[in-house]
Symmetry: C2
C-alpha cells in the first residue's frame, strides 16, 4: 500500500489506551507503510506506548491532551465541551490534511456531529449515515445502514441511504448491481409504516438500483440482500438484538459444556475438537471482525469503533478504515451521487 | 380446571390441520375438562380428526367452512373477504359466548381487525396490543408489547401498553410491582425519538408503575425488565432479529458437529451428551414454548400463534390461551385500568 496516516482517538471507548494502542500495534505490524497520529492523555497512554517495538514507535506521533468527551454526554453538551478533546483533535487532523482517516470508539453522537462540522460533507448529502458490514451465515457480508445517525428518516433520506449503501457495497464487497432491500416487518407491500411503503414504491421505479423489496429482521444474517436500508432507530434495535441473541446463546452453550461431566474426563479433547470447528465457523459471523461503523457522506473516512471493543475488534475497525481509504470510498460515493443527480 | 371451551381456527397458519389438530389433541390429553369448537375445511381436517382417540373426539365439535382468509392478504381485503371464514367463525363463537377464547395462526392483521369488530374491546382501551412472553437466559420470562398491532404509537398509546403489560405481568408471571422498561437505542435520557423521550418523562412521574427506564435490544433476553414496551414496528423488528439470530447460530453449531469426523467415531455418545445438556438449557429459551401472542385490550382471550408454528409450538399457544382464561386476564386488565382511571 501507499503511505497512509491515520488519526486515532486513543481515549475513546470503554477501555481507552489499554485497547487502542495494542490494536494499532497489530495494524502497524501488518502494514509497513502505515503511521498514526495519536491524541490522548500521555500519562495514561505511556505504559502501552512503551510496550511498542522501536520500529513501530517511529511511525507513531503522540499529541497530548488530557481532555476526553464523556461517552454518555448528550449531543449538545458533548459538542460544547469538545474543544481540545482527543476526539476533536483527531478529526481536525483529518480536516487539515495531516491524516487521511480517523478512528474513534468514543461518544457516537459527538463523533457524528463533530465530523459533520469539521470535515466537509460530500455535495448533495443531506444527512450522514452510520453504515457497517454485517456478517452472514454463508461467510459473505451485507452493508446495513443507518445504524443510529438518524433516529428518524423520511423517504428522501432512506433513498439517499440506499444510494450511498449501493456504492459502498459495489466498492467494498466487489459487487455488480448489489441486491438492495428495505428492512420491514413483513414482505407484503401493505406492511410497515407509511414512510417505508412510500420508499418501497419509489425504489420500485429505480432502474439503476437492484431493489428486491422488503426484508424481515430474522433474515438479516442470511445474505438475502447486499444492502439493507432502514432508519437509524430501527437499524440500531435490529443489530443489537442480533448481537445480544448470539452472545447469549454462545455463552449458554459454553456454560453447558463446561459444566459437563465429560469435561472432567480424559476425553476432553473431543469437546475441544467440536468447539474448535464451531468456533472456526463462528469466526465468519464473529462480531469482532465486523467492528467499525463508517460515517457515510463525508469527504474523508471516519470509522466509529464499538465502545466495548476488544483489542482484536478495534484492530478490525482500523483495518476497515484502511480498506476504505485505499478504495477511495468518499470519492466513489461522491462520483456515484453526482452521476445520479445528473441523470435525474 | 373448570369446564372450558376454546374456538380454534383449524386452517390458520402455514400447515393448517396437519399442525392444529395434533396440537389440540395434546391439549385435550392434558386437560380433561377442555373441549374445542373447530372451524375449517372438513375434507382437509378429516384424516387428522380420525386419528384422535374416541374420548377426545367427544370433546370436539367441528363446524365446516371451506373458506379461509389468505395469510398474505392486506388488511382491508382480508376484512372484506372474511365472512364465513374459519377465523371469523372462531371469533364469532367467542363473541356469542359459545367459547371462552380463540386461537388462530392465520393473517395477523385480519385477526386483530376482526377481533376488535366482533369482540368488545375493554372500556378505556384506545388500541389493542399484541403481547407475548419472551424467554430469558435465567429461565424466567418477560412480557413484551406491542409486537405489530400498531406500526406507529404515540406517547399515550405507549403508556397504555405499559399499563396493560404491567397487569399482564402481575397476573401471568405472579409478580408484585413488575419492572417496566421502554425499548430504546441507548439508556441515556437523550437517546431515542421524541415520542420515546416524552413517554420516558411521563413514566418517571408514575408511582404506580415500577418504571426502570430504557432497555437496549441486546438485553431483551436477560430478564433485566419484566415488561418491555415499544411500538409494534420496533417490537416486531427486535423479536424477529432475536429469533433469526438464535436459529442461525443453532443451525451452524448443529452443522459443525454433524460434519465432524468425531461423529463417525464410536465416541458419538459424548457428542449426544453435550448437546443433550445444551438442548435442555435451550429449552428455557425455546421459542416453541413461547409461541402465542395475546391480543391485549379485548374482553375475551384471543391468541395468535406463529404462522409457521410446529405442533409443539401450537400446543403452547393453546396452553397460553387456557392459562389466560383461567387467570381471567381480560377482567384483571379491565379492573386495573378502571382503578387507574379513577385515581387519575
Amino acid at each position: 500500500m501507499n503511505r497512509l496516516t491515520l488519526a486515532l482517538d486513543v481515549m475513546g471507548g470503554d477501555f481507552g489506551p489499554r485497547v487502542t494502542i495494542p490494536a494499532l500495534s497489530l495494524a502497524l505490524a501488518q502494514n509497513p507503510m502505515l503511521s498514526f497520529i495519536l491524541f490522548g492523555d500521555q500519562r495514561q497512554a505511556s505504559p502501552f506506548l512503551n510496550a511498542l517495538p522501536n520500529d513501530q514507535l517511529k511511525r507513531v506521533q503522540f499529541v497530548h491532551t488530557p481532555h476526553t468527551i464523556d461517552a454518555n454526554l448528550p449531543f449538545m453538551q458533548a459538542l460544547r465541551k469538545s474543544k481540545g478533546s482527543s476526539m476533536r483533535l483527531a478529526l481536525e487532523a483529518v480536516a487539515n490534511g495531516e491524516a487521511q482517516g480517523c478512528i474513534s470508539g468514543g461518544n457516537t453522537a459527538a463523533l457524528m456531529g463533530l465530523a459533520k462540522i469539521l470535515i466537509e460533507p460530500l455535495p448533495n448529502i443531506e444527512r450522514l449515515a452510520l453504515a457497517t458490514l454485517i456478517p452472514s451465515m454463508n461467510g459473505k457480508s451485507s452493508v446495513m445502514l443507518d445504524l443510529g445517525a438518524n433516529v428518524e428518516a423520511d423517504s428522501d433520506l432512506l433513498i439517499q441511504f440506499a444510494e450511498m449503501g449501493n456504492i459502498f457495497a459495489e466498492v467494498m464487497l466487489d459487487l455488480v448491481y448489489p441486491r438492495l432491500a428495505l428492512l420491514n416487518i413483513g414482505v407484503e407491500n401493505s406492511k410497515g409504516t407509511q414512510t417505508i411503503r412510500n420508499t418501497d414504491k419509489r425504489l420500485q421505479l429505480r432502474n439503476d438500483l437492484n431493489y428486491i423489496g422488503f426484508l424481515e429482521s430474522d433474515k438479516l444474517m442470511n445474505n438475502m440482500a447486499d444492502v439493507i436500508v432502514c432508519d437509524g432507530f430501527t437499524g440500531n434495535i435490529a443489530l443489537k438484538a442480533v448481537e445480544g441473541s448470539a452472545k447469549n446463546i454462545l455463552s449458554l452453550l459454553k456454560r453447558s459444556s463446561e459444566g459437563s461431566f465429560i469435561c472432567q474426563s480424559t476425553k476432553r479433547y473431543l469437546l475441544r475438537a467440536i468447539f474448535y470447528r464451531s468456533y472456526r465457523k463462528l469466526q465468519q459471523i464473529n462480531p469482532d471482525r465486523h467492528n467499525g461503523a463508517t460515517l457515510l457522506g463525508l469527504s474523508s473516512v471516519v470509522v466509529k469503533s464499538h465502545g466495548g471493543a476488544s483489542t482484536n475488534a478495534y484492530f478490525y475497525a482500523i483495518d476497515h478504515a484502511i480498506g476504505q481509504i485505499q478504495r477511495q470510498i468518499p470519492d466513489k460515493i461522491s462520483q456515484g451521487l453526482n452521476k445520479l443527480h445528473q441523470n435525474l
